[in-house]
């Protein structure tokens, strides 16, 4: 276990890693162009390194990281599937990467065509009528979708509709996005099958209901088979149904939210559509809507008329902009290339394989860990570590022990409705051998919990740092490096 120096700690005055040409225009004095009071008195403490130092520093940092390319990454709800390399090359083409967003529209017909076709393909995949690619992440898409819901109700004069219903199993971004859109959040409890409790839902909807946010399959990886009745209950009460597309990897080509009764959806291109997660982003969260909500989509919208693609800003009912330009275009390019590589059959195969992989893994593990909902799952499933907890080993401990085996742990402590939750999503890009290896590891850990829990509680052992003190980090926040005086 070795500490790694910060870039500031390997800096030496006078070193440089850059090469810039000399100024070839007549130079004026700085004070002639910028008044003295606007000029910085001291330089920012940026590091000074030679090029080889820069390369070794960041190469070294990368080797202290685990990505999908390093090994299995069954982080439930995040769909950590393999990121196709060809799509990286494509996004870097000068004709995509070096195009300015404000160029005259006739000089960016390729970009506009891509966005327009992507709108069409995502609409088809989700069963919606139009898709905006502007939101830059899933949560951003949720917020945008909820703003559309609010705008719609206000347009109809329904000002009392101030509440959004969210299941207690929902991802935290759901209620957080609702709050940002100005809604009050009403939480309803899940039933004993982990699905929406219909009686609770019926009791919760009224004339103040703007809508219900739902993921399907839900965050337990289970399909809400009552979905049509749920849609009916919400629509009857005058509300709209919002689909959180985080789990779309389970149902492509099999079922579409538009056919289930959803009015509005968002997708996560960095989950379902294979764009890389980037260490935390950038993602992309396109929003799709049914016809009655199209007028409210963010502005501008890409149109195609008489052989020409154009940006339409004349959208009087639009909620406005949520991004400075048109969204995370470079991410959208990769997802577009992915869909074009897969085709309809490819996408269906992805979902059926993802679901098979998850069920296979669940079946291998259910004797060793508590399975709170023993049903056929979709693309992910949730185990509970409660048996191990009784033996003194928590889900957190299990996660840390997995690190010793070169595997990224599953999502832990989510959803909130399962004690010591471990959410496992293998995705379709993993082989049976990898799944078996993971299952064997989890089984070994279950045995360790019975026989020698200490090895789990003191994990991880082989990572570059041992278990880190998160409590200390929050108690005494040190959020930047400071030069010693």
């Amino acid at each position: 276990m070795k500490e790694k120096k910060l870039v500031f700690e390997i800096s030496r005055p006078g070193r440089k890693a850059y090469s810039l040409p000399d100024c070839d225009v007549p130079e004026k004095k700085l004070e002639e162009m910028i008044p003295k009071q606007h000029i910085r008195k001291t330089n920012p403490e940026l590091p000074e390194l030679s090029e080889v130092d820069v390369v070794r520093h960041f190469t070294g940092l990368s080797r202290r990281n685990h990505g999908v390319d390093s090994g299995f990454y069954p982080l439930g709800s995040c769909t950590m599937k393999y990121n196709p390399k060809i799509n990286e090359d494509i996004a870097r083409l000068g004709g995509f990467a070096r195009v300015h967003p404000y160029q005259p529209q006739d000089t960016v017909q390729g970009c506009l065509e891509l966005l327009y076709r992507m709108d069409g393909m995502l609409s088809e995949i989700t069963g919606m009528d139009k898709v905006s690619l502007q939101p830059a992440a899933g949560a951003h898409g949720e917020m945008t979708g909820l703003m559309i819901i609010k705008a719609y109700h206000e347009y109809l004069g329904e000002k009392r509709r101030t509440k959004i219903i969210v299941p207690d199993s929902a991802h935290g971004t759901n209620p957080a996005s609702a709050a940002m859109a100005g809604f009050e959040v009403v939480e309803i409890k899940s039933n004993e099958k982990g699905g929406v409790d219909l009686e609770s839902l019926k009791a919760a909807v009224n004339e103040e209901t703007a809508g219900l946010m739902l993921t399907n399959p839900n965050t337990l990886g289970l399909f809400e088979d009552n979905i049509e009745e749920i849609a009916w209950i919400v629509h009857q009460a005058g509300g709209l149904l919002y689909y959180d597309g985080a789990n779309a990897n389970a149902i492509m080509g099999i079922s579409r939210p538009g056919d289930m009764g959803f009015d509005i959806v968002h997708l996560n291109l960095h989950k379902t559509f294979s764009t890389p997660h980037g260490g935390g982003g950038p993602g992309s969260g396109p929003v799709g809507v049914k016809k009655h909500l199209v007028p409210f989509l963010p502005s501008p919208v890409v149109e195609f008329k008489n052989g020409v693609y154009s940006l339409n800003y004349d959208l009087p009912l639009s909620i406005g902009r949520v991004h400075s330009f048109y969204g995370n275009f470079g991410v959208i390019v990769k997802a577009y290339a992915y869909i074009m590589s897969m085709g309809a059959e490819g996408l269906s195969k992805i979902s059926t394989t993802a679901v098979l992989n998850a069920n296979y893994l669940m079946n291998r593990l259910k004797e060793y860990y508590v399975l709170p909902y023993d049903n056929t799952c979709m693309h992910e499933f949730v185990l509970s570590g409660q048996r191990q907890k009784e033996q003194g080993v928590s889900a957190l401990d299990i996660a840390k022990r997995l690190l010793d085996f070169g595997v990224h742990p599953p999502t832990i402590y989510f959803p909130l409705i399962v004690k010591e939750a471990m959410m496992i999503e293998p995705t379709e890009t993993e082989s049976r051998e990898t799944l078996d290896e993971f299952a064997d590891t989890m089984i070994q850990i279950a045995k360790e919990a019975e026989e020698c829990p200490q090895i789990i509680k003191s994990a991880p052992h082989i990572t570059v740092v041992g278990r880190l003190d998160e409590a200390k980090a929050a108690r005494n926040p040190v959020l930047r490096w400071m030069k010693e005086e």
């Binding site: 910060l6 870039v7 800096s11 890693a17 850059y18 810039l20 225009v25 700085l30 162009m33 910028i34 910085r40 920012p44 090029e51 820069v54 960041f58 940092l61 990368s62 390319d69 990454y73 990121n83 070096r98 005259p104 390729g110 992440a137 899933g138 703003m147 935290g172 209620p175 609702a178 940002m180 099999i254 079922s255 289930m260 890389p276 980037g278 260490g279 935390g280 982003g281 950038p282 406005g320 902009r321 949520v322 991004h323 400075s324 048109y326 995370n328 275009f329 590589s341 085709g343 992989n357 990224h408 990572t463 570059v464 041992g466 278990r467 880190l468 929050a474 926040p477 959020l479 930047r480």
Partner: protein, 455 residues
């Protein structure tokens, strides 16, 4: 058989057998027939890699790009030089195929890089704390506004009319739904109309937002504003150009409470508008109200230094509807690009880039004025952008410049109807003297031809 799906049909059959199933369709029994698709998705036929490349190359070649054309277009997205190392380091797969560093022990690469990034943003802006990124400059500004309302328990935001129009649009969208009021000021000779702020400032003002350099490229007087704003107990929010901060006084030293901006200039390509990088920094007292992920330093059980996501109690996965923001995924890879860029350029290099932009922009400005067919729209110090006026419609001028392989500046009339004929020109360190001279010559010739046509 897709190259991305390892399990063969044979393997899938044997896995199904273990589940007591014959066909993969049995896994979907639980989905009601009424919502099952009865047809294939209507999508184009799958393309092999070669076909895909042909298709994507066609789409890409239907765009003019800044490699083939010389660009003088800025307005919030800039053609800066990206050192070749940036791309190489970003392509390290352990960086870009990882997700959020929830398990810090195997994410020290990402976490340390973000810690270094946060430090650099603080150094540039003169602020005490910075987060791990927002989606872009516009959403960072909008969230700075909601954070100000939250921190002061007030409902009104005053924003300068000299702030980027798209940023003000995003601010209006967020505020409309969040429940705060926006008042937009006018501008005076290109900079914010202070009297508008003075007259509007009240005990209900949560924040005053300005941009420096502003949308017209001009410098705003932050210090004059600071006294006014703090005098009424409101917060001062400044949106900045990070390259300019190599030369300009950091807003933190002028008393700003929150500093945001667009980090695309720091190592990300223009990429038709995204992915970009919203940076967000604030004073320590506002830490608990900040949106977004934050990385902090700590130790492991052996006393080794390490880094973790911290202050997570502010965030959506813990506080849900009471979180400071809904943000989950951010722009981590773009933040990494910025970290690498700022490391490569370093203390001296960033200053060199900023000085080159400054000198070249001022040279271009003087050359354009010297032709006699352009006049300045405003008087006042500027950084790398400036507005000039001519007698010709800007979109016509830009159209004709295309045949000389030049992408001209931004048509200000689009957002400011009173600024007809005004052209916003950006000049970065990439523009050689020859390119600038050529641009000036071509532009003035086009205008002279136009002038003669009109007679």
């Amino acid at each position: 058989m897709s190259r991305y799906i390892p399990n063969t049909d044979e393997q899938q059959q044997s896995m199904l057998k273990e589940l007591g199933m014959e066909a993969i369709d049995e896994l979907f029994k639980g989905i009601p027939e009424s919502v099952r698709m009865k047809r294939k998705l209507d999508l184009p036929e799958a393309m092999a890699e070669l076909e895909l490349l042909t298709h994507m190359n066609r789409l890409a070649s239907n765009n003019r790009n800044l490699d083939e054309y010389t660009g003088f277009l800025g307005a919030g997205a800039y053609d800066h030089f990206i050192p070749s190392i940036v791309g190489h380091m970003l392509s390290r797969q352990e960086f870009y195929t990882a997700y959020t560093p929830y398990q810090p022990e195997i994410s020290q690469g990402t976490l340390q890089a973000i810690f270094e990034y946060q430090t650099m943003i603080c150094e540039l802006t003169g602020m005490e704390v910075a987060n791990a990124s927002m989606y872009d400059g516009a959403s960072a500004l909008a969230e700075a506004a909601s954070m100000s309302c939250n921190a002061t328990c007030r409902k009104e935001i005053i924003v300068a009319g000299s702030v980027h129009p798209a940023y003000r649009e995003v601010l209006r969208t967020y505020s409309k739904f969040y429940g705060s009021r926006i008042f937009e000021t006018g501008y005076d000779n290109g900079t914010v109309k202070i009297s508008d702020i003075e007259s509007r400032l009240s005990s209900d003002t949560a924040a005053v937002i300005i941009q420096n350099p502003n949308f017209f490229g001009l410098l705003e007087d932050i210090e004059q504003l600071e006294k006014l704003v703090h005098g009424k107990g409101a917060l001062l929010v400044v949106s900045v150009d990070p390259i300019s901060l190599a030369i300009l006084k950091p807003p933190g030293e002028s008393g700003a409470d929150i500093v945001v901006g667009e980090g695309q200039s720091l190592g990300s390509p223009v990429s038709f508008g995204g992915p970009y990088l919203g940076f967000f920094a604030a004073s320590k007292g506002l830490l608990r109200k900040m949106p977004g992920r934050i990385v902090g330093q700590t130790t492991d059980d052996a006393g080794n230094r390490g880094f973790v996501l911290t202050m997570q109690a502010r965030e959506q996965h813990i506080r849900r509807e009471k979180a400071t923001s809904n943000i989950c995924s951010n722009q981590a890879l773009n933040a990494l690009a910025a970290t690498i860029y700022l490391t490569v350029l370093g203390k001296q290099g960033l200053r060199d880039v900023a000085m080159l932009c400054l000198q070249k922009a001022h040279y271009a400005f003087e050359q354009l004025i010297a032709t006699g067919v352009f006049e300045p729209c405003f008087a006042g110090p500027f950084f790398k952008e400036f507005a000039v006026r001519c007698c010709m419609p800007v979109e016509k001028l830009n159209e004709e410049l295309l045949s000389s392989k030049i992408i001209g500046g931004y048509k200000l009339e689009k957002d400011y109807p009173e600024l007809a004929g005004c052209w916003l020109i950006a000049v970065t360190e990439k523009r050689s003297r020859m390119e600038i001279d050529n641009f000036v010559e071509k532009a003035s010739k086009i205008i002279e031809r136009w002038g003669r046509r009109a007679i």
